[in-house]
């Protein structure tokens, strides 16, 4: 085969391959795996939402929508965000429906970041932000968060990473992979720094409904922050709709307008089937969602107590559906631990360093799995640790 790689653009080549991808290949070749390595709900989309999509297809809704998304959906989103975080966004000018939060992140970075601009990414971090910044010829700057702080972003650490080139701060809470959240006071402690340094915040709040014991607070709702925040949310996690590919961004019309410009020339619009389903989710999905969240909460407590019982240190994650325990007692690196655990006990968890260097020494365990699978995985991990404990 010819080597065509010389044709691939330098910037794409400069992006390291995903640590998750590598591990995925390994897991796929293994039989009998109990997986806590998944990053999505274990629920299928609630039936009434699927059914609403069938109905829309029967009615012949198979066409493009406006670039911004169906007005009906944007109106529902506006009402939902008002309920969720108390902010009013104009459906006409301040909301854009996207192909998942994934696209919203990409659009915002492309709309905001110029070559050499710095994007501050608190780490451990979801895998998309840094490559997204690189693709716009910007520079992702990792900002460390620590397990002793329950992975909250500390103002002093943030401040120490800011340079004259800093332009965008990513805030992704509840956090993937750690399950950490930011309380109101934690967010408040960042506002002065953000304003003083003229930063724009990309707030990825896709896990916000999965906040346990208490209500999620959005940075956008703090004084002076609405215009500075590009708020992102989606249906994948809260409504178990990952495959539908529907998310959205809310923010100042200048920024949403710029994002819409890119969106209209690159994807045109989000798929109409997903948009129709999303309308149903927002109108009638609250009760099912609440049930799912209650069940995640049960499993969160099960896995946390189980991990601690088998000797792994873990702070209490208060959001999303991940635990992020330390594997220090094994004396292994994250990758070594995950590979051995997979080969010896057929349990899949994700190495923490797949989410940035600061995830080294930790693993991500997703508890969007059945209770039986969680218990089985814990039993196997216990055997594993008993063999390898230092």
């Amino acid at each position: 085969m010819n080597d065509m790689s010389k044709y691939v653009s330098r910037v794409v080549k400069s992006i390291p391959p995903s640590g998750i991808r590598k591990f995925f290949d390994l897991v796929s070749q293994t039989e009998g795996v109990v997986s806590l390595g998944v990053g999505e709900p274990d629920y299928v989309t609630p039936w009434h939402i699927r059914e609403a999509c069938f109905y829309s297809l029967e009615q012949g809704y198979t066409m493009y929508t406006s670039n911004q998304g169906l007005l009906e959906l944007r109106e529902e989103i506006a009402a939902y965000e008002k309920r969720r975080i108390g902010i009013e966004y104009s459906p006409a000018r301040e909301i854009l429906v996207t192909v998942g939060v994934s696209e919203a992140v990409d659009l915002a970075l492309r709309a905001l970041v110029e070559p050499e601009d710095e994007v501050l990414v608190p780490e451990p971090s979801y895998v998309s932000y840094a490559p997204g910044a690189t693709l716009t010829y910007g520079k992702a700057v990792p900002v460390q968060t620590y397990d002793v702080d329950e992975y909250r972003l500390r103002p002093d650490v943030l401040e120490s990473c800011i340079t004259p080139k800093s332009k965008v701060l990513i805030l992704s809470y509840p956090n993937n992979p750690t399950g950490g959240i930011m309380h109101r006071r934690d967010l408040e402690s960042l506002v002065d720094i953000i304003i003083k340094n003229d930063l724009i915040v990309i707030a990825d709040e896709i896990y916000s409904e999965l906040t346990y014991n208490g209500k999620h607070v959005s940075i956008a709702s703090l004084p002076g922050m609405k215009d500075r925040t590009v708020l992102m949310n989606g249906f994948s996690k809260a409504f178990a709709m990952t495959g539908w590919r529907i998310g959205y961004a809310c923010g100042h019309p200048d920024i949403i307008g710029a994002m819409t410009k890119i969106h209209q020339y690159t994807v045109m619009c989000a798929p109409i089937m997903g948009q129709k389903a999303a309308i149903e989710a927002l109108r009638h999905g609250q009760a099912e969602m609440k049930k799912m969240v209650d069940n995640y909460n049960y499993r969160r407590k099960m896995i946390l107590s189980g991990l601690r019982e088998i000797g792994l240190d873990c702070f209490e994650p208060r959001g999303a559906f991940y635990c992020f325990p330390s594997i220090k007692i094994s004396g292994m690196s994250s990758e070594e631990f995950c590979e051995k655990l997979l080969l010896e006990e057929q349990v899949a968890v994700v190495p923490g360093n797949a989410f940035g260097a600061s995830g080294e020494g930790f693993i991500r365990c997703c508890y969007a799995a059945s209770i039986n699978n969680i218990e089985e995985a814990l039993a196997r991990m216990e055997k594993f640790l008993n063999r390898h404990k230092k």
């Binding site: 998750i20 897991v27 997986s35 990053g39 998309s128 909460n297 049960y298 407590k301 099960m302 994700v350």
Partner: protein
């Protein structure tokens, strides 16, 4: 009361769940959960525990019928006396009082259709106050007590994802 309801909800969906697991999920002690379950059992709030079994899979072709029963209610006791009598037959699985065109719905299981027919003609129809019966045989079970019979929905997700 709230706690009791939460425990009942968990048990209703999975009777095998351990008191320890319930305690972890609800931030309570195992002892307290055990004590509450004991009491709920004694007070017959938890009436019993069943498994949902797909007998066909072990080659057992038992028959289930749902029988609509019309009853002449009795002074003072209404339908209760006859309903309670019907309950006593071991082949009867469920008895419900219904609104609508008949009075009692009776679910019966047996080894063969003949066995059930015999039960209806000899035992059920002959009870005083039973006016008429209509027997419907179950042909196939798709879902029972929350469980889908054929293929349980398998996990279709990728095993690892970001």
């Amino acid at each position: 009361m709230e706690l009791e309801k939460k425990i009942l909800n968990l048990i209703e969906h999975d009777a095998k769940i351990s008191p320890k697991a319930i305690a972890t999920m609800l931030d309570e002690t195992e002892e307290k959960v055990k004590a509450i379950i004991d009491r709920l059992e004694k007070e017959k709030i938890i009436i019993g525990y069943n498994a949902v079994i797909n007998w066909e899979r072990v080659g057992d072709d038992g028959v289930t019928a749902m029988i609509d029963v019309k009853v002449i209610p009795e002074r003072e006791v209404g339908f209760n006396r006859v309903a309670e009598r019907i309950c006593r037959f071991p082949e009867v699985r469920c008895v419900y009082l219904m609104s609508g065109t008949y009075d009692l719905s009776v679910v019966v299981t047996g080894n063969t259709m003949k066995e059930i027919a015999w039960f209806v003609s000899h035992k059920l129809s002959t009870l005083d106050n039973v006016q008429s019966t209509v027997t419907h045989f179950v042909l196939k079970r798709y879902k029972q007590d929350n469980f889908i019979f054929e293929k349980a929905e398998e996990d279709k997700r990728l095993v690892v994802s970001p």
